[in-house]
């Protein structure tokens, strides 16, 4: 398994960050067939595979504001007001994703991108771990 950490600037507002290019670069360096694994080692971020850039990013953030409101209902009360919701989100938008890779290319659909969903406004930098499980016939990752 080949693995590396990348560093993201997620800024001081809730945000959805496209990491598709980083994922493509990572799997093309090795080539071969296998599984791409994306993981955020943070308790207030998730990974989503979705269309970006045509309104759905803002739609997702709006849906999350509706489903997990940033009010005072949460028991977890560190950080900014309503921050407790950020800690519930990863149960619903998990901090991992898996994507099949063929000949070094993630087999995403035309409209699919790989994105980090980060509601936390108190932490402007994030790590993401990319891992690629390839087959030994390729003489690559294993």
């Amino acid at each position: 398994m080949r693995t590396k950490l990348i560093d993201l600037h997620t800024g001081g507002s809730e945000n959805i960050i496209d990491i598709t290019a980083e994922c493509r670069d990572f799997t093309s360096e090795t080539g071969g067939d296998g599984l791409l694994h994306v993981f955020v080692p943070h308790a207030t971020a998730g990974v989503a595979i979705m269309e970006l850039g045509a309104g759905s990013d803002e739609d997702l953030l709006a849906a999350l504001r509706d489903l997990l409101p940033a009010d005072d209902r949460w028991r977890h009360r560190h950080g900014s007001p309503g921050h407790g919701r950020d800690h519930v989100m990863p149960a619903m938008i998990p901090p991992y994703a898996t994507i099949p890779v063929i000949s070094g290319r993630p087999e995403l659909g035309t409209w699919q991108s790989i994105a980090i969903v980060d509601l936390n406004v108190d932490n402007p930098r994030r790590n993401v771990r990319l891992s690629f499980l390839t087959s030994p016939v390729d003489g690559a990752g294993w």
Copy 2:
């Protein structure tokens, strides 16, 4: 890794399609231990592992109508009215799933099935990619 695309007819209404039999056939062809990966390369579909056929399929569609209403709140506005919700769903019901396989058999619980959840009424056909990562001792996929 062994991988193949299957073709599904999902029809012109929101739908939950059982693909458990296709998954079992696929892993039994290779045999051995490993991980089954299911992936839909579409931005408006997801994969769920759940009980089917005892009301829960309709319960899930009803819950999604409640949580992500098909009204005019969405920024993404191509296709049928309310279609923006279809693009938010994959953040919550992801387009992939992983299932452990032992001796060629997915180790599902008694009441678990593997299903494609497709809210999109504008696209009656879908591809699903099945991949099986097996160990080299089995002399199979690797």
Copy 3:
């Protein structure tokens, strides 16, 4: 792939059970790099990677009571009142999770734990399957 079933006591109320220690023990026995796979072979339980012990466990259960109410809306009506919601939950909190492992250690973030989310009050015991896909260079799982 090395794999084993563990047995959990989830009790007679909705519950979130920390299995991080069991996961760490399991991957450290083998060592090496790879992917840890966690799977619950039950149709009313899910796996979440989240902060535990600072209020977020109770926050998640409260959010689920709000999003999937235990009332008579559900078609699936076996067991306790409102039990139909338990069967919808795994579509949103899936019964699997994947975590990268380096040198035998799950690469979780500081505040991340691995938890079983079980809403079902009628079934006090649960199995969880842990699987570890390691690379052949380690001479371990493969």
